[in-house]
Amino acid sequence: MEKKTPLYEVHVSEGGKIVPFADYLLPVQYPTGILAEHEAVRTQAGLFDVSHMGEVMFSGSTALASINHLITNDYATLGTGRMRYGILCNECGGCIDDLIVYKFGDEEYFVVVNAANREKDVAHMAANALPGTVVEDVSDGIAQLALQGPRSRDILSRIADPTRLPEKYYSFVRHVSVAGTDCLVSQSGYTGEFGYEIYTSAENAVTLWGAIRGAGEGFGLLPCGLGARDTLRLEASMPLYGHEMDDQTTPLEASLGFCVKFAKDEFIGRDALVATGAPSRIRVGLVATGRGIIREHQDVYVGDRHIGTTTSGTFAPHLRRAIAMAIVDVTCATTGTEMEVDVRGHRVTARIVHMPFYKHA
């Protein structure tokens, strides 16, 4: 039986097309459609319910040491009010999940994980946290909305004190009053666009959604579903767990080496990653040069040589072309390399391009 977020009834009344995703019933799109929702985020603003995401609190005198033991990035240099991406690795260096750590204080960290991985993550975290750290899954009490797009600040400023909004990317402010509800507001998101992620108690979700929708009138705000969330993140070449990475893929293979800090003395998976050395396959971005849309799990060739597999692919609504990500042999991973993708039995030509495919102004 799928779960519902606190906004389920709102999505139905907004005309959302509901699908099961990560054990939740969520809207894949609203009546305006994925293309319009995608473009709203690129040019105006879009509002997403991402309450299915998991949230885990780490607290106690050893909270930082536990975070640094569990996650590949280095959180010793993270300031209070700042957030940082990282990977939860297993002992073999495979990815259990990717996540974001918010530092509330020296002994208090708020960790946001993927919905589909939440139970697995919490079990792994609880089993491997150091003595003196309390790991608590607080997901069920928290709703999360993402307000994304260039008009996001204008919209939020109508219902919150603009001087209280986070000024820097990957920073956050706690206890911001948004339409009278107590919220954590971070400047972050999964769209490649300017925007905010807003966390509040589950019982405030309907009030907050309604207030943002009202404040968005005149700013071109559209409610956006999972469909646009996926095309937006893909256009921004952001990885999605289960696609660009999984427990058989290392963060280095997923081209996420920027968040693996070997300078740290130790973290789970470090020994395996060091022993393996430079990866033999890495994630690249592809643009189709032939006609056709490349999708996930399609074979990639240079001539007759099979060099890898696509991990995600779609028609990029803003760029108006077919894009994909693939994990390929590192010897064929140079920008500009021409390759072919087997799209249901016929070959579509593609070229490796720099990521991100799209970067906002």
Partner: protein, 125 residues
């Protein structure tokens, strides 16, 4: 409820059919385009393709997924709507004008539904 014009015939795989002088014109119904969402690519058949009733005629792609279009008849593709190559969204906007292919030399046809039967079928989907 999706629009279902009276004068056309329909399949349970959501194609519409219009027959005139032995030429069968095939498109996707309003119900189909709504279920598929924004279409962004039509992989058109080619003139001269031999097609078989109940088998794939071509495919269409929405942002999210690829879907087959099935040929309701056995015959030869005599004409394709090339405008769809550049403007697949025409299927979303005007599904009963945005025909995909015309088929001639038809030797076999599927059992078609009339408008009332198709409406009843969609209501059960």
């Amino acid at each position: 409820m999706a629009h279902v014009p009276e004068g056309l015939r329909y399949t349970t795989s959501h194609e519409w059919i219009s027959e005139q002088g032995g030429t069968y014109t095939i498109g996707l119904t309003d119900y189909a385009q709504d279920a598929l969402g924004d279409l962004v690519f039509v992989n058109l058949p080619q003139e001269g393709d031999r097609v078989i009733a109940g088998e794939t005629l071509c495919d269409v792609e929405s942002v999210k997924a690829v879907s087959d279009v099935f040929s309701p008849v056995t015959g030869t593709v005599s004409e394709v709507n090339e405008a769809l190559a550049d403007s697949p969204e025409m299927i979303n906007e005007t599904p009963y004008e945005a025909w995909i292919a015309r088929i001639e030399g038809v030797s076999e046809v599927e059992d078609f539904l009339d408008a009332a039967a198709y409406v009843a079928f969609c209501e059960k989907e």
